[in-house]
Subunit: 297 residues, 2 copies
């Protein structure tokens, strides 16, 4: 298996699926529709839809109902970036080398585009019911999908992140891990657990997937903090040491580089070993997860 | 039947149902949870949940699955107000005599609270599946609920409204009616159609309800424009003639008072007559709709 080629192929497939659920830019409200499409089509690796589909495959899923959910999770991810970039939040003018949505369309339209994408995510996920799927599994997936995106998931993490930045900053490991677990890991959990639920995985399998996705999210974020100190600017595509410059409390500043590396390794190894513990295997998924958490940039 | 007493009773019931689905204000993310509850509990007549339940009753609905949907539509309505009030949108500091959410909690938290409420609306609606309801009807209601709130419903109307205000203003009746049909009527359609679908109404009954809710929304808005010219400040609780002062194009300025009154009457009469045309009747709902569209304030 050539991982890079397979990854490219799956990214292309995810891209096509996502685009098939995007709105046509017509009607009196076409500005908000354009702003939504602009935001979704700004690039991105489509990691969450791919993780969702590969977890679905791990548990033998073969239906069409995964597709609307794949598009939906990318819409949720995208809306969160659009709102995060707003002047009242992180006030970012560029993302992935392109102007952010509010710079292109104005602040009011960016707020509405974010709202529109979040709403469209649920409209789209609800279309899974039209695919002749099991309605009980689909309802369960939808509930889980909603919960992990909301105030007990991603939005909860964003709230604490914003408050930490505006206030005294992150002061404890508990708060930092809460932010990573909710702001980052929750959508990975959403992706992988939705895939597992839709494929009819057992309760204990779904719980294991929840743990794996948590480990991936935390390992990914610790790696982010490590690379900010130890990576090269060329590798990262952003200035090195920017966390320190911004006086940002990170996993490395809280626990030291040595402990951060040890913890990162422990989370990574647990994720991989749990992923290999199922009756069936998905070698592509295992390789993808390894690449995610051991990335050098 | 004493309509006022019955309306008060139903408002209290709706209030209790809504509150039972609001989050506990605990955990690291309690600020966003408080901001969400503050917004929902700022008052409001709970008209949409009541319309939903009464339409459900009209078609013989007797289950529990209506309750999460009642709470969900109030969350959607509330999030739209929170985001509408933001500085980048209407920049309102007060609503119903209380400070708006961004004034109380800051702009970033108001954006997140709105996102949190929209997301929680779908989390809550998805809980309908736990009530032992018909999953196919519930899935259909959920899809419809999502659509009417989104870019082909309420958000679509907000987009055109914002663009009209920032640009040349509303210039044609077609655009004005588009705004009213989407910004106002869509959530009334969502309320009443969700009730009808959940109660197992037939296709033609649901279509009739869609038309009735459209008529109610448009009649309500024309009445709003008429009252701005002909009402008294005391009746309205806001200055008379504020539309004219703001150079706002309204139904009255576009078509003249006489035609506006005639159209308002036609939409109202159609709504009432359609509502009376079903095999079964809900006298409370009929009285409530009449009160809504013939209101003097």
């Amino acid at each position: 298996m050539n991982f890079k080629l397979e990854m490219d192929e799956r990214t292309r497939e995810a891209e096509q699926i996502i685009q098939s659920f995007l709105p046509a830019e017509t009607g009196f409200q076409k500005t908000v529709l354009s702003a939504m499409n602009y935001s979704v089509l700004a690039g991105g690796k489509r990691l969450r839809p791919i993780l969702m589909r590969e977890t679905y495959r791990l548990f033998g899923g073969r239906g069409e109902e995964i597709k609307p959910f794949m598009a939906a999770i990318e819409m949720v991810h995208t809306y969160s970036l659009v709102h995060d970039d707003l002047p009242a939040m992180d006030n970012d003018e560029y993302r992935r080398g392109r102007k952010t949505t509010h710079v292109m369309y104005g602040e009011a339209m960016a707020i509405l585009a974010g709202d529109g994408l979040l709403n469209l995510a649920f409209e789209t996920a609800a279309r899974a019911f039209e695919t002749g799927c099991d309605p009980v599994l689909t309802a369960r997936a939808l509930a889980l999908f909603a919960r992990k995106a909301g105030v007990y998931g991603m939005i909860g993490g964003q709230c604490v992140d914003i408050e930490s930045e505006n206030g005294a900053g992150v002061t404890t490991e508990e708060i930092l891990v809460f932010i990573h677990a909710h702001k980052t890991a929750a959508l990975i959990q959403s992706a992988m657990m939705t895939g597992a639920v839709l494929a009819g995985a057992s309760e204990s399998e779904i719980q294991k997937i929840e743990k794996i996705a948590y480990d991936i999210g935390i390992a990914f974020q610790i790696q982010d903090d490590i690379l900010d100190v130890s990576g090269t600017a060329e590798e990262l595509g952003k200035p090195i040491g920017s966390d320190e410059k911004n006086h940002k409390v990170t996993y490395v500043t809280l626990k030291g580089m040595k402990q951060a590396q040890a913890d990162q390794k422990a989370f990574s190894e647990e994720a991989i070993s749990l992923l290999r513990s199922f009756d069936d295997r998905n070698l592509f998924l295992e390789t993808m997860v390894e690449a995610l958490i051991t990335r050098k940039k």
